[in-house]
């Protein structure tokens, strides 16, 4: 340092360079939307604490109203101990400090928590302190404190610590974690989380290669989670529930039959029907639903990020939903079996001939296929022409199959085959009456349930659907200019205020690399900040004092 001071004097300032590492476009909006969706966002960065705090302010993660808990290793007390140089003493002292601070903040936190309108909490922690805080003895306190905070900023963290923090939340809090990063130092974090996302960009492709999903810009995370993630959850729930339902309805119909056969195990359906049920007659429509179903459009999904919480709460695949579907499957199977068998006990064609076992079972199977496919149409949120094609197609394929199957009799058939069954059935008017009656009777219960649920106990997404059902297809809400006339005076005032330039925060989003000029700039603002030991300005001023000889 002293040699540098000997050399660097009487220099002429020519210019200054600065590096601007700008935030990507749309990041603050994205983070704000995601936190509205109930997703907690933590920042783990290798930058120093001031930079990290400034970035957090720029991103809307921190603001002036929040109560910030700062655990930093750059306090005076720690610096003093570090200057003494004794490693074990440093370690012990830092651990004590961290423990003390954690305890203090943990005690303070509940009072803010209790009042719902109180300030939110934020935690800022340094890499060195994190090293001690992640030890088994302090880990639980750290986890509890950080889970109570709405945002957490960790600065000066090494890649290993990033992974450790992620694992801490993943295993300790048992929440789903998502890591997003763009550099090679984020790779361990990306792999430690449940879902790792790499941003492909200027820093190379290491993060992308280690990740589960790769996106091009940070703001696409909003689309990924709120639109595609949400749709994916809804589609998956629907597909799984429907699969169980249709197989339950199909199998239980046979089950009720066993009560009438003396429990001998006689099949109700033909073998081919059973095998092809899941392969041809009911497979394609549910695949179409799983691919194309959208409950609300993508722009609306981003407009109401709170709808994401439906997935977090697992509202569409829990015990209650499964029980309801199972009940309806049981009810429908009862309808299928008893309607068909009781009504066919005296039904006959125009010439008085009675139906046999295979006629009744073909009738029942036709009703099952038709009803189950129609039920799918009832549970879709969006119907495209592919839905109609696949549902209609499945039913038509069933008829084509049974026409072919019962029209052919070969040497290789099993005993008592289905020869001519469907033609016999379709020559009776009983067939058409039952084909109309049974699906309606079976779906009556579902229709009633869905109607009542949607009308009296709607889900959030259904409310959004109904209020926006008159909107134009792809265009979202009308321009805000148009809605101004409909606002009350109060709302107009608050609208106008929010459009004024925001108050200037003392954190401007810029941070300087060297900490030594803080006191210098502080004096420029008219504030007195006691200079720190490493303050360059102080050293410079000291040197100049001792200079005169």
């Amino acid at each position: 340092m002293q040699v540098a001071e000997l050399i660097e004097k009487e220099l002429i300032l020519i210019g200054a360079t600065a590096i601007e590492d700008k935030l990507q476009e749309g990041v603050p909006n994205c983070i704000q939307t995601l936190s509205r969706a109930g997703i907690k966002i933590w920042v783990l960065t290798g930058d120093k604490i001031e930079t990290a705090i400034n970035i957090a302010y720029a991103c809307n993660l921190l603001n002036n109203e929040m109560k910030q808990f700062i655990i930093s290793s750059e306090t005076d007390a720690i610096r003093e101990v570090e200057e003494r140089g004794d490693q074990t003493e440093i370690a012990r002292f830092m651990k004590e400090e961290v423990k003390k601070q954690l305890k203090q903040f943990l005690d303070e936190a509940p009072q803010y928590f209790c009042s719902p309108s109180g300030p939110k909490l934020a935690l800022v922690i340094d890499g060195k302190c994190l090293m001690y805080a992640l030890e088994p003895s302090l880990r639980i306190m750290l986890l509890t404190l950080s889970l109570n905070c709405s945002s957490v900023v960790c600065c000066r963290v090494s890649p290993l610590q990033k992974a450790q923090v992620t694992s801490l939340v993943k295993k300790g809090a048992r929440k789903i974690t998502l890591s997003i990063g763009d550099g090679a130092n984020d790779v361990s974090m990306i792999q430690a989380a449940h879902i790792g996302i790499g941003i492909s960009g200027l820093e190379g492709m290491q993060a992308v290669m280690a990740s589960d999903f790769a996106i091009a810009q940070f703001r696409f995370l909003e689309d990924l989670l709120l639109v595609h993630g949400r749709w994916s959850y809804i589609r998956l729930c629907k597909v799984v529930m429907y699969f169980f339902y249709k197989n339950l309805a199909f199998t239980l119909t046979q089950f009720w039959f066993t009560f009438g056969t003396g429990f001998s195990g006689q099949r109700f359906y033909d073998d081919w029907f059973q095998s092809l049920y899941n392969v041809i007659f009911t497979a394609l429509p549910v695949v179409i639903v799983g691919l194309f179903d959208q409950d609300i459009s993508s722009s609306l999904s981003k407009k109401y990020p709170e709808l994401y919480k439906e997935g977090v709460r697992n509202m569409f695949f829990n015990r209650r939903i499964v029980a309801i579907w199972a009940c309806f499957a049981v009810y429908q199977s009862l309808v299928f079996f008893y309607f068909v068998s009781l009504s066919s006990s005296t039904s006959r064609d125009s010439d008085g001939k009675m139906f046999g076992l295979w006629d009744v079972s073909t009738m029942a199977f036709t009703c099952v296929v038709v009803t189950v496919n129609l039920r799918l149409l009832m549970m879709c949120n969006s119907i495209t022409r592919w839905h109609y094609i696949s549902v209609g197609g499945s039913i038509i394929v069933w008829f084509v199959f049974i026409f072919v199957y019962s029209g052919i009799m070969t040497r290789f058939d099993r005993n008592d085959n289905m020869f001519w069954v469907i033609y016999v059935l379709m020559s009776t008017s009983y067939f058409y009456v039952t084909l109309l009656l049974v699906p309606v009777a079976a779906l009556l219960g579902d229709f009633l349930y869905l109607g009542v649920q949607r009308w009296f106990f709607p889900y959030d997404y259904q409310i959004v659907q109904e209020s926006h059902k008159d909107d134009a297809d792809s265009i979202n809400a009308p321009d805000s200019q148009e809605t101004k006339e409909h606002l009350t005076p109060d709302e107009a005032r608050s609208n106008a205020i929010s459009q004024l330039p925001k108050e200037v925060s003392k954190h401007s989003g810029f941070a300087f690399d060297s900490p030594g000029y803080e006191s210098f700039f502080a004096t420029q603002f008219g504030k007195y900040v006691p200079p720190k030991a490493w303050d360059v300005a102080r050293r410079a001023s000291m040197k100049s004092k001792s200079k005169p000889k």
């Binding site: 056969t261 439906e310 009504s343 064609d349 009675m354 076992l357 009744v360 008592d416 016999v424 109309l436």
Partner: protein, 304 residues
């Protein structure tokens, strides 16, 4: 939602049809298996039915309570008879029915496959248990002509039972299960057998016996001379004779009529209720302005 109202409307239309047809079919049912057992044998009906020396003829009276238009179908109804039992349904050989003795692989017909080392045609329990009660109908002294042709499905007669296959070694064993077959008549013309071999779905079923081509007036008394040959006494089964007219929907079926009416009415009620709800009571949640909607969604979703 509106799309669902349409089939609902259709169903209600049908409900009116159901009410109409419900009353058009006339049916007379007579259970005869208990009453046709003569007094001394009432204690041990099984030995009565198995004893060939006791004559099995019996006379029953059926009174017509409503005008019945020809053709009138004659059915025999069996209750507690499990034609849908797995071992029973399995016990036949369709290939043998087409090919006769030439076809050798009749193992599915066990134990009624062969007798004294000679194959049985048609083999299997279904054929072995052929129903063999016979009925004759007399009205005012004159016999009513019963048409016993064309009582089996045409597809069965034409394609499932061979025209050159004759019964062979049939019902020759020690255990008699049912009726005998005339070995001179090919299987495709043995309509009773064909009707019997179309196994039914439920333990209580009817099978067509024949047709009466004349009308029956109100208060006609039909005398039925029947031969009570078939043994349903060993397992507590019931035998009934049914005379029935037919409508476009089939026989008399209370269930179908009631189901029709019920489904039609409930669908109509639901349709009306939902239409009223939509038209009159615009749900307040669904017509909120956007600002309020934001707030509602936000407050609803904070309960995590």
């Amino acid at each position: 939602m509106g799309v669902i109202f349409i089939p609902v409307g259709l169903v209600t239309l049908r409900a009116s049809h159901c009410v109409i047809f419900h009353s058009m079919v006339v049916e007379i049912v007579d259970r005869y298996d208990i009453d046709c057992v003569p007094e001394p044998s009432r204690m041990d009906k099984v030995s009565y039915i198995q004893d060939d020396s006791i004559p099995k003829n019996c006379s029953r009276f059926m009174k017509v309570h409503k005008y019945m238009k020809a053709p009138i179908y004659i059915y025999y109804q069996l209750d507690n008879y499990y034609q849908n039992h797995r071992r029973y349904v399995k016990s036949r050989s369709d290939k043998q029915l087409l090919d006769g003795q030439k076809y050798r692989d009749t193992s599915s017909c066990q134990p009624v496959e062969s007798n004294n080392n000679r194959p049985i045609v048609p083999c299997g329990l279904i054929a072995w248990s052929l129903f063999n009660d016979t009925f004759e109908f007399i009205r005012e002294g004159a016999e009513l002509k019963v048409n016993r042709k064309n009582i089996a499905w045409k597809s069965d007669r034409g394609h499932k039972f061979g025209k050159n296959v004759y019964p062979f070694n049939f019902q020759n064993g020690t255990l008699i299960g049912g009726g005998k077959l005339n070995p001179e008549i090919p299987l495709s013309d043995q309509e009773d057998l064909i009707v019997w071999m179309r196994t039914s779905a439920l333990p209580s079923f009817r099978k067509l016996y024949g047709r009466i081509e004349e009308d029956l007036d109100v208060d006609d008394v039909v005398v039925v001379n029947l031969m009570n040959n078939y043994n349903t006494y060993s397992f507590g089964g019931k035998k009934k004779l049914v005379l029935s007219t037919s409508s476009w929907l089939g026989g008399k079926n209370d269930f179908l009529g009631h189901a029709c009416v019920f489904v039609g009415c409930s669908s109509l009620t639901l349709a009306i209720i939902f239409m009223l709800l939509h038209a009159l009571w615009r749900h307040e949640l669904f017509t909120l302005e956007q600002e309020k909607l934001f707030r509602v969604i936000r407050t609803r979703s904070t309960y995590i």
